[in-house]
């Protein structure tokens, strides 16, 4: 079977490590990656522990298809208790790091404790070392960290997942960046890694991933790949990237603008996919250079782009290193550094996104936090005295670029921006201005126009998220809340299983659970059906819910900001509408088999095999 059956457990406090067998019973119940790692997390830590304490665990998890030839089989996840939210956090990334970890012979890495000094982890197959990071890579950017590690270890193909300065200085939405511009981006998993004094994990493997029946696996993988290749959605993702979305949310009136005051942005056409492909006068080039694919990916949604050489950002001394071709804007980063802060300067958005990559912070949370700060500034709640003289106004490209650097390096008012929108707005007495759920900032979809997405945000186990449910198709065709609860519930379960496989959610442009089941079944030697994946997904969802309940979350946290519940959308398809959460949430609880307070019933837990002992007793 595709599992190596090996877990690497690293105790940073004692600076030692050991090999353990993979818990096969849990792998049968929770599949891999998100589900399996959450099972380990729930069993090993008190959900009430502070996320930045040594008691938190940090799990680096692969799925059974990570490192295989299955299309997009390069996904891996960081699972922990999130520094931004205090909820269970699972943040998923691509690139090549996850596949390399499997090539080194490991299915899962469990990191516990806190190193007494900054360290990094070097894994070369079974050779594991915990090495000092001070006076070497501690304090360095993600990009410099990657280069220095490859030079020191004379290993050009080392694959590295690292935190940047943001993770070191405690930015609550710091992420873990791998392969230069791929990231486990959300919920502050990089802040947890930083709190453990762990700068980077560098991996080189020389093994493969074995299959119980290679011919059967290849038949399933090739059939699924061909289905994906033939689909127009795949072509669209390769050509426009996820940025194809901006014209849709703009036309529909679902594009959060100026911290959610508006749902359409007058400058959207200057920061969308077409703008990235438009020739500029200065050098006759376009922002977009080409697309880019992760390990084994046959979609290639990633963007490689470069800033206009005449742009103010790269003409400044500190901007010189950003003149090259780097990871470019995707929809969420473009929304957050563009419409959300009302900036229509494509190069400034791209530049800010590069700073997020290099310093290791989530551009969604950064942009939405900056938007909240801009609203506070325009209301006069904070002033130039707070910001060190910077005019933090909507639309200011200069303020955006300044804020990205200040936040990523923990300088001045950047420290405040690093708190995230919830803590920032609470500090200044205006908590209602934070566009967050459970402390996590909105992605680029307004819940007034997309009712299903509103329910998905409110019930997501890691706070506001666009990747925990799939209400898109229905939301873009139907504006009323009826029937959304079932769509959200079903897709939450399906995605929980998909996130546990090692494959990318973008395959669902063409695939359903059938394609996932066929490939997983072949890789694990049988027994995996569509129905079993559904139940597995539901089990994972309920386990995450139970973790959050024990961490102190209640139904009161399954809500949306007052702005989207009370202030009608000013334009677009939802003009005059608010998010009708109260019309959906009771039905959602009922369909889940939860009581009116959002607590899973004993029957539901029993049906899913989630006995009381599934979560560590405090």
């Amino acid at each position: 079977m595709a599992w190596h059956g090996k877990v690497l457990r690293v105790d940073l406090t004692r600076e030692n490590w050991r090999e353990e067998p993979l818990n096969r019973i849990w792998a049968e119940q929770f599949l891999g990656q998100r589900g399996l790692a959450t099972r380990y997390l729930a069993a090993e830590m008190d959900p009430r522990a502070h996320p930045l304490s040594a008691d938190n665990r940090l799990l680096i998890a692969t799925g059974p298809l990570t490192g295989t030839m299955a299309s997009t089989g390069g996904r891996w996840s960081v699972v922990t208790k999130g520094a931004l939210t205090g909820t269970v956090a699972c943040s998923n990334s691509g690139g090549r790091f996850g596949a390399e970890l499997r090539f080194a012979g490991w299915d899962l890495v469990i990191i516990e404790g806190r190193a007494p000094r900054p360290v990094y982890l070097l894994i070369r197959d079974a050779d594991v070392r915990i090495l000092p990071a001070a006076d070497f890579i501690w304090g360095a950017t993600v990009w410099d960290t990657e280069e220095r590690l490859r030079v020191r270890h004379q290993e050009p193909l080392l694959r590295i997942a690292a935190i940047g300065r943001a993770g070191e200085v405690g930015v609550r939405y710091a992420c873990v960046v791998n392969d230069r511009d791929r990231a486990a981006g959300r919920s502050g998993v990089g802040a947890v890694m930083g709190s453990k004094n762990l700068k980077a994990i560098a991996v080189r493997g020389s093994r493969g991933v074995s299959m119980p029946d290679m011919a059967r696996f290849l038949t399933a993988a090739v059939a699924a790949r061909d289905t994906l290749n033939a689909h127009p959605g795949r072509v669209r993702l390769g050509r426009y990237g996820t940025q194809a979305m901006m014209d849709v949310t703009q036309a529909y009136g679902a594009l959060p603008t100026r911290n959610g005051r508006q749902v359409q942005f007058e400058g959207a056409s200057r920061v969308n996919a077409a703008a990235m492909r438009a020739r500029r006068p200065s050098d006759g080039s376009t922002n977009l250079v080409r697309n880019k694919a992760c390990f084994a990916c046959t979609i290639g949604c990633g963007r490689l782009a470069h800033v206009d050489p005449e742009h103010f950002s790269v003409r400044a001394e500190e901007g010189r290193r950003y003149r090259g071709v780097e990871g470019g804007l995707e929809y969420e980063s473009a929304y957050a550094t563009g419409p959300m802060v009302a900036v229509d300067d494509l190069d400034a958005c791209h530049y800010a996104n590069m700073l997020c990559n290099e310093h290791g912070m989530d551009p969604i949370s950064f942009g939405a936090t900056l938007a909240a700060a801009m609203e506070l500034f325009e209301l006069g709640t904070i002033g130039a005295a707070d910001t060190g003289g910077v005019e933090l106004r909507f639309g200011s490209a200069q303020a955006l670029v300044w804020a990205a650097r200040a936040t990523g390096t923990g300088q001045g008012f950047g420290r405040e921006l690093g708190l995230g929108a919830r803590r920032l707005c609470a500090k200044y007495g205006r908590p209602e201005l934070a566009m967050v759920v459970k402390g996590q900032e909105f992605p680029g979809y307004d819940p007034r126009a997309m009712q299903g997405m509103g329910l998905a945000y409110a019930t997501s186990n890691r706070g506001a998220c666009h990747l925990r449910a799939d209400p898109y198709s229905d939301d873009f065709q139907r504006i009323t809340p009826e029937g959304k609860a079932d769509i959200v519930r079903r897709s939450q379960d399906e995605i929980a299983a998909m996130d546990s496989s090692g494959l990318c959610l973008f395959t669902t442009t063409a695939w359903g659970l059938e394609e996932f089941a066929a490939q997983i079944d072949a890789a694990l030697g049988g027994g995996w059906t569509v129905e079993r994946l559904r139940i597995t997904g539901e089990r994972i969802w309920n386990l995450e819910r139970q973790f959050n309940r024990l961490a102190g979350f209640t139904a009161a946290d399954d809500t949306l900001p007052p702005r989207v519940l009370n202030e009608p959308a000013a334009s677009g398809a939802a003009k005059g509408r608010v998010a009708e959460l109260a019309a959906m949430l009771p039905e959602y609880y009922r369909l889940r088999g939860w009581d009116q307070s959002g607590v899973p019933s004993s029957e539901t837990l029993s049906r899913l095999g989630l006995e009381a002992g599934a979560i560590a007793s405090p």
Binding site: Y240, A244, M245, D247, V248, A251, Y472, S473, F476, K575
Partner: protein
């Protein structure tokens, strides 16, 4: 009658002039329905979002919704979000 049609991130084989994603006037028979417009453009109706004068139109209503001269129609793929 003329209706103003704009395609977003879509290409219609039967109307290549719409590929620039700008709004174009399209000549349609009087009382044409939205479903007939999609057919004329050669667009598969599934996984397609429709706005008529900024209002979302459910897929079940496309066959019965008649367009009027001057109506503005926006068609887009119901794509999913990502990173």
């Amino acid at each position: 009658m003329k209706v103003r049609v704009r395609l977003i991130s879509l290409e219609a084989a039967a109307a290549p002039e719409l590929a620039d994603h700008h709004a174009h006037d399209l000549e349609l028979p009087e009382l044409a329905t939205v479903a007939e417009l999609l057919e004329r453009l050669g667009l598969a109706p599934s996984a397609l979002g429709v706005l008529v004068n900024d209002a979302a139109l459910a897929s079940a209503l496309r066959a019965s919704t008649r367009l009027a001269s001057g109506d503005q129609v926006v068609l887009f793929p119901v794509i999913k979000g990502g990173s």
